[in-house]
């Protein structure tokens, strides 16, 4: 029986929904547009969109296959990296720390969770390779 993590699916779907307007040229988060150059905001949106799409595809469509693991890991690196950049922008934008601590901690936690899960997928891929090689 295939068991997908519903929390992971929900958060990746939320990331996909959040990235959509950026790609369509709509204004992104205010703190990003105020701090980053336009091309970096678009790149951030692309990282979020491709990352969440790849990871969702890996989790939902190719779950437990080698290609599914590759897609999930790559996607999570994109989403985690985007969340880490958002966290960094929040910290360096000169806002009052008490005003941004909730949003900043959410993004830091999301980035950590994505990278943690990417590490777990890497371990699974290593085990997969060892089993296939008969070692």
């Amino acid at each position: 029986m295939v068991r997908r993590n519903p929390f992971q699916v929900f958060l990746l779907t939320a990331s996909l929904v959040a990235a959509g307007p950026l790609i369509l040229g709509r204004p992104g988060p205010e703190v990003l547009t105020a701090t980053l150059p336009r091309v970096a905001v678009t790149g951030w949106g692309v990282a979020l969109l491709t990352g969440s799409t790849l990871a969702l595809f890996g989790v939902l469509v190719s779950h437990r296959s080698w290609y599914g693991l590759v897609l999930e890991r790559s996607g999570l690196l994109g989403v985690g990296g985007a969340a880490l950049i958002y966290f960094g922008v929040l910290l360096t934008a000169g806002h009052d720390l008490t005003a941004i601590r909730y949003t900043a901690s959410i993004h830091a936690g999301y980035a950590a969770a994505c990278l943690w899960r990417a590490g777990q997928v890497t371990v699974t891929m290593r085990a997969h390779r060892s089993a296939k090689a008969g070692r």
Partner: protein, 103 residues
Amino acid sequence: MNTTWLIAVASVLGSVLVTLVTGFMARPRQVTDINVALSGDARAWAQVFADRADAAERKADDAETRAAAAEARINRLERHILVLEREVRRLGGNIPPLPNGTA
């Protein structure tokens, strides 16, 4: 500062691309691939065992045929013995008991 953020975004996109490509390239070989790599000796041994199995099957068939023929001969001999026993009794003779251990 802008350059730093551009590099950070580019690094994220690059890491996605690199892990994607390296992941696809590092796909482990299937068990069937390994079997193909070993096919030289493995196939020769498989043929040897298959030939031996065929020979053993033919021998078993021959043995079964011979056993059936022997059983038919035994049945015929038993019927012949019964006929001889009746003939001996009809002529007033008797049948001595078989020696121990022959029945």
